[in-house]
Symmetry: C2
Subunit: 208 residues, 2 copies
DNA sequence: GTGAGCTTGTGCTTTCTTTCACAATCTCCA
DNA sequence: TGGAGATTGTGAAAGAAAGCACAAGCTCAC
């Protein structure tokens, strides 16, 4: 097991391995080799082995990896082995769509509230939660022990929301707004930028 | 100007520069330095200069970059200088949210249709387009010259949809379904994996 | 018990990115 | 016109990630 901590690209792939393992497990297989993972994920076998080796020795030579134990270990490493509460700020189209997402009603994630600053939305139901005033965010997230925040507001509001979240004890933020947020002290931010993806895809369109 | 083509990380940043430049332009500035871009985007000035240098010499020493010309040049490089037609397949929550996205009704992108395979959805309106039978996709995209496809179906359907898209002449695909798609010959795929983002964010939660 | 056959973990090599630093170039004001 | 000040473009160095190849280890059939 290497000494330093895993590089970011490895962490991104961990989530892919996890999905693969869940599927393999559902299919009833007990064991899978790095070559088998390559076949299902497209990630080369060598890469798989190197990635996993950052966290320990999980495989048996000649046999491969035992699916269930590896699933358990990886879930633990990814900190997906206990429930996490999530809030969404910005009850527009995207916010509403994400709020309805089944992945936020799983054994791991649960959506506890949605927030907006638009008075005509506040108080209304959104799927199975109620839209609350964003000014209540710090109090509510603190009280409920919310750890993850999702931002789906317009760009102008994003920085302020991130700060409210930090104030409310949220440590990890997923930002869908098309702007850079300067991380409040102690928080991690990941950006998902739909417009960027759309533009980048154009770059790769065949040149005339 | 370096000979080879730009590395992928550079292309991703190009889109960020573009957004920054649009904003700076809207503010009425004529000129911006790499340091100025760093201030607004967080990308280091040296990185900015190197990225841009892959495509030409756009700046003037002592002055910086002329905003409008650079905007034009970058738009051209990203192939964002002419309209692109887009279709969405999968009229669920996420598909519907994306279909309503203003960015798909801009001077560059226009949404021409949404598709689904669910009979109860086919024929219904979705914002300003109609939901059509996915089996009509190849014909319609071919006729209309659609270049970009967005997949928001469940995982099981994604591969088949990608193939229909390829058949309909689509060359670039944005895949939101939580699965790996094997690119049909001649198409580029970019994946946006929401569940993955959510899981990865957990990894970065402070360890207890 | 033993050997054939897989498959892992990992050091080494190669490739890809980022950072650094500075000569060259341009502007602008006196 | 000339010189101070700013800022670029880029080669060279450092750093990060991916690919490779193989010794070591495990299994299983006979």
């Amino acid at each position: 097991m290497p000494t330093g901590r895993a590089p970011e690209p490895t962490v991104l792939r961990l989530s892919i391995y996890l999905r693969c393992l869940r599927q393999v497990h559902a299919e009833g297989l007990d064991t899978i080799s790095s070559a088998g993972i390559q076949e299902r994920t497209g990630i080369t076998a060598g890469q798989v082995r190197k990635d996993l080796s950052y966290f320990g020795e999980f495989g048996k030579p000649g046999l491969g990896y035992a699916v269930e134990p590896l699933l358990t270990r990886l879930s633990h490493i990814m900190q997906l082995d206990r429930p996490r509460k999530v809030v969404i700020v910005g009850a527009g189209n995207l916010g509403a769509a994400l709020a309805g997402y089944q992945g936020l009603r799983s054994s791991i994630f649960s959506l506890v509230a949605a927030f907006d600053n638009n008075l005509s939305k506040i108080g209304r139901p959104l799927w199975d939660v109620e839209i609350k005033d964003v000014r209540e965010l710090p109090r509510i997230t603190q009280e409920q022990g919310v750890e993850i925040g999702i931002i789906t507001t317009p760009a102008e509001a994003a920085q302020g929301v991130a700060e409210l979240m930090a104030q409310g004890g949220i440590r990890s933020i997923l930002n869908f707004s098309p702007t850079r947020i300067v991380s409040p002290q102690g928080t991690t931010i990941r950006n998902v930028d739909l417009m960027k993806e759309l533009e980048v895809i154009c770059f790769y369109l065949p040149k005339p």
